[in-house]
């Protein structure tokens, strides 16, 4: 599968649009889902997801096969989605009535509508923290991000990850545990920084 993907990447790098179409087809849903998770509305998510795909085509010649294509792709996808969200937030800061960002001066991603339901304090705080998960994902190391993408976004099994990264299943588990722990730590730091 990787060989086919690599051939498509090579063709797409030379400007072959059809090859890029085949290459991106398997990732479109995930890209759109990331955009939706960040923007929380279909219209913006659609436009941003399209923009992400075009950006990937434009930047494809920068891909050097040093990491897995999916890791590279999701990193660009999350970065672009977060950047676009920040731009939009800056534009509409004074307009939104229901939007209640944690801190309008902070660049971190926030959800648009505050959940007013009667929830326990921990659950509320947790939801607030989750707003920064896409930011946090870009703050952790490449190895940690890669394995989280493979497991949580691409929903691959330990065995599949083990084959793809050419490491043992035990290593996959321990690395994934450390990666999630690191992500949680960064998330908490961003959250605390935002409270200050």
């Amino acid at each position: 599968l990787n060989d086919i993907e690599n051939k498509l990447i090579e063709k797409a790098k030379n400007g072959n649009q059809e090859a890029f179409g085949q290459l991106i087809f398997n990732y479109e849903q995930k890209i759109y889902a990331i955009a939706f998770k960040v923007f929380k509305n279909e219209t913006d998510a659609y436009d941003v997801a399209q923009e992400i795909c075009i950006k990937l085509f434009q930047k494809l010649d920068q891909f050097r096969f040093e990491s897995s294509f999916s890791t590279w792709l999701y990193r660009i996808a999350t970065n672009t989605a977060i950047d676009e969200y920040r731009k939009q937030k800056r534009k509409s800061t004074h307009e939104s009535s229901y939007d209640e960002p944690v801190d309008s001066d902070n660049d971190s991603v926030s959800l648009q509508i505050k959940d007013e339901s009667d929830t326990p304090e921990e659950a509320y705080l947790r939801k607030e923290k989750i707003k920064y998960v896409w930011d946090a994902l870009n703050e952790i190391t490449e190895d940690h991000r890669s394995i989280i993408i493979l497991k949580d976004i691409e929903q691959k099994s330990y065995e599949e990850i083990s084959i793809e990264l050419d490491i043992g299943i035990g290593t996959v588990k321990s690395r994934l545990a450390r990666a999630r722990s690191a992500l949680k730590k960064v998330l908490s730091e961003l959250w605390e920084h935002n409270l200050l």
Binding site: Q17, G21, A33, K37, L187
Partner: protein
């Protein structure tokens, strides 16, 4: 808190995958019952996991189709941008200006050249007229030799006749002195006279020369005749001899004049050919420039049209 070992810290992040062994699952579940901190952490891990789970979001149907259309458009725009930023198109405006300026200069040069060509045609015409007059003079001189008189139908020839008579008179007056001089000296004198006449003819017979110059040469030649007409044989028939010498000198000068005129005429023809060649080159150069100018204008129009279409789409 105190019993949160390394094992629990490593199992908690993996618990959300539900991929632990039954024994590991029990260890975690039993632990979080007593440890609030680990319980909070586990909920946070679960929230992260849920946030990163993208499978429950459906992709809109036309997403791929629209993306491919946008990419095709993007590719076209990229190609157009690449073309527009190329050297030729980038400096098209300046190239057009230079071409336009060159065409204007060319038209000016062509106009000037046309004027000079007309001048040369006139000069050639004058030269041919000179040749014609010279030939006529030669014929008339020959007639004089045969008749041994200085009668002529043209005014130039009358002048020559008058000069000849004057020469005869002078020759009569100086006949005795001439008798004393050696024949060798006379011969040298003839040679000198002829050379002088030739030189004068060469100087005077230019592209702008007219038939008058030939007449003057003839006159000059005739004026030189007295010096020539110092033959020892003048004792018995001085007039006849002087006339004969005169005619010989006139013949020489006319011959020289003719040869000079022919040379000048050839040069004029060559110059005329050169000008024609220059004209041909200029016209060709100008034609190429006009084609380039028109071609570049067409290219600009095409690009603008394409850009307008892209903007519309």
């Amino acid at each position: 808190m105190n019993h949160c070992g390394h094992e629990i810290k490593e199992l908690l992040p993996l618990y959300v995958d539900h991929d632990l062994t039954e024994e590991e699952m029990l260890i975690v579940e039993n632990h979080i019952k007593d440890c609030e901190e680990c319980h909070i952490d586990l909920e946070l891990y679960q929230s992260i996991h849920d946030e990163l789970d993208l499978d429950d979001i459906k992709l809109p149907e036309n997403f791929h189709h629209e993306l491919m259309n946008k990419l095709a458009l993007e590719n076209e725009t990229k190609e157009i941008n690449a073309y527009q930023t190329s050297f030729f198109v980038k400096y098209m405006r300046y190239i057009n200006l230079v071409a336009l300026f060159t065409v204007v200069v060319f038209i000016g040069l062509a106009g000037l050249n046309r004027t000079s060509k007309s001048d040369m045609e006139l000069a050639t015409f004058d030269t041919s007229t000179t040749e014609r007059v010279a030939t006529e003079s030669t014929n008339e001189s020959s007639a004089n030799e045969e008749v041994t008189t200085s009668e002529a139908s043209t005014s130039e020839e009358e002048s020559v006749e008058m000069k000849s008579e004057v020469a005869v008179m002078q020759a009569e007056e100086t006949s005795e002195e001439a008798m004393l001089e050696a024949p060798v000296a006379n011969e040298e004198s003839i040679a000198e006279t002829t050379t002088e006449n030739t030189a004068e003819t060469m100087q005077e017979t230019t592209a702008d020369s007219t038939a008058d110059s030939t007449a003057e040469n003839t006159q000059d030649s005739m004026l030189e005749a007295p010096a020539v007409a110092v033959e020892p044989t003048l004792e018995s028939n001085e007039k006849m001899m002087i006339t004969a010498e005169e005619d010989m000198t006139v013949d020489n000068s006319i011959n020289n004049s003719e040869s000079t005129l022919t040379t000048n005429g050839t040069n004029a023809t060559l110059e005329s050919e050169n000008i024609v060649n220059q004209n041909w080159f200029l016209w060709m150069f100008g034609g190429i420039l006009v084609i380039v100018l028109l071609g570049s204008l067409v290219v600009i129009l095409l690009i603008k049209k394409k850009s307008a279409l892209n903007k519309k789409s």
